[in-house]
């Protein structure tokens, strides 16, 4: 599967569109219907100072897709890529047997979105999510975590035989832990998750995966941020060469959503 290269800069714009069909009466009241199939998301990515190699990667994808014709995978550079980040009981989350979940725990942002993960066995067990994202990208895997008794929690990104993991010591106070991981290789599925040591009960909140080296502020996620049927929004791709090896451009990408 073709994918958009991991090149993102500020500023960027993201537009979420929905369609509402309405009929307004003379008295100003409106009868409305939601057209749920008509939603779309569009990104407008502005680039400056791109090297020839970086611009070449975007141009090659554009040519391979023949403009708006073909689809590619787009990893939203501004999103939390995980789905249902505060519902670890959702079907998108996979977990080893023997791992108990209790939702509704007080979280460090003043809500009750944290989950207590209890490992009843002696061996370390994991909870993870598999995303259709390229293993060659660099990701920031982050979470808030605490444990009354203290524990060593592991964040990981795994693709095929390669696993990039990092262990963190956590105590009774909330701590944000961040693992900058690049699984590497040509795999197009990456598993991101948490490993809980045997016998530990750990409170976890704000699980987040971003396609960048460092973590930004936590974003609660619903549908995630990997789009496998994205397209260029235009049939023309224009680049300005501002100097030797310095290119600027604006790219618009669109997907149903």
């Amino acid at each position: 599967m073709a994918y958009f290269p991991q090149i993102a800069q500020f500023p960027g714009t993201r537009r979420v569109r929905r369609r509402t069909v309405g009929s307004e009466a003379m008295d100003g009241s409106i009868v409305k219907y939601a057209d749920s199939g008509a939603g779309e998301i569009e990104w407008e990515l502005s680039y400056a100072g791109l090297t020839d190699q970086e611009w070449g990667a975007i141009r090659e994808l554009f040519e391979a897709c023949e403009g708006r014709l073909e689809t590619f995978t787009f990893v939203d550079p501004f999103a939390n890529l995980l789905k249902s980040s505060e519902d670890l009981g959702a079907a998108v989350w996979l977990k080893d047997a023997g791992l108990g979940l209790a939702a509704g725990i007080a979280d460090p942002l003043g809500g009750s979105g944290a989950t207590r993960i209890t490992n009843q066995g002696a061996e370390a067990r994991a909870i993870w999510q598999e995303l259709p994202a390229p293993a060659s990208f660099r990701y920031a895997v982050s979470a808030y975590a605490r444990c009354d008794a203290g524990a060593r929690l592991t964040l990981f990104a795994e693709a095929g035989a390669t696993k990039a993991s990092k262990e963190f010591a956590i105590g009774p106070e909330w701590r944000r832990i961040v693992h900058s991981a690049q699984p590497g290789g040509t795999e197009e599925e990456v598993q991101f998750g948490v490993i809980v040591p045997g016998g530990a009960a750990v409170d976890v909140f704000g699980l987040q995966v971003e396609a960048q080296p460092g973590a930004s502020a936590y974003k609660r996620s619903g549908a995630g941020g990997v789009y496998v049927n994205a397209r260029f929004a235009e049939d023309v791709l224009t680049v300005n060469t501002d100097g030797p090896g310095l290119n600027s451009a604006r790219v618009r990408i669109r997907t149903a959503g």
């Binding site: 500020f10 537009r15 929905r18």
Partner: protein, 119 residues
Amino acid sequence: MSSFPRLKTGAVVQYPATRTVGYATEVFRFLDGAEQRYRARGSETRRWVIRLELLDETELAALEEFFESMEGAFGRFAFEDPWDGKQYPDCSLEGDEFEAEMLGETRAKTSLVVRENRS
């Protein structure tokens, strides 16, 4: 019923903020210059333009999540007028598009328009 999300400061809007009150008056003007006027709507309608800047990623995500939960202009929610604290129980977003500009880390901006429904 859902409520419009607040920023981390507890505020709903930032300066400059815009509030409009509108009426719908139909006017018939006759050949002799006389007029007849009547209300096309039973009461006024309110509209708030909410422009937000310097948002962090958490605040922006909450606003986008709210937009998606409303399915754009379709959904209805309660909105507290930030000028006087009065609660308007039946409001909707005016548009079907949510645009977020990411200008830098913790420097996002967006704009939403809330409109009171007539039912």
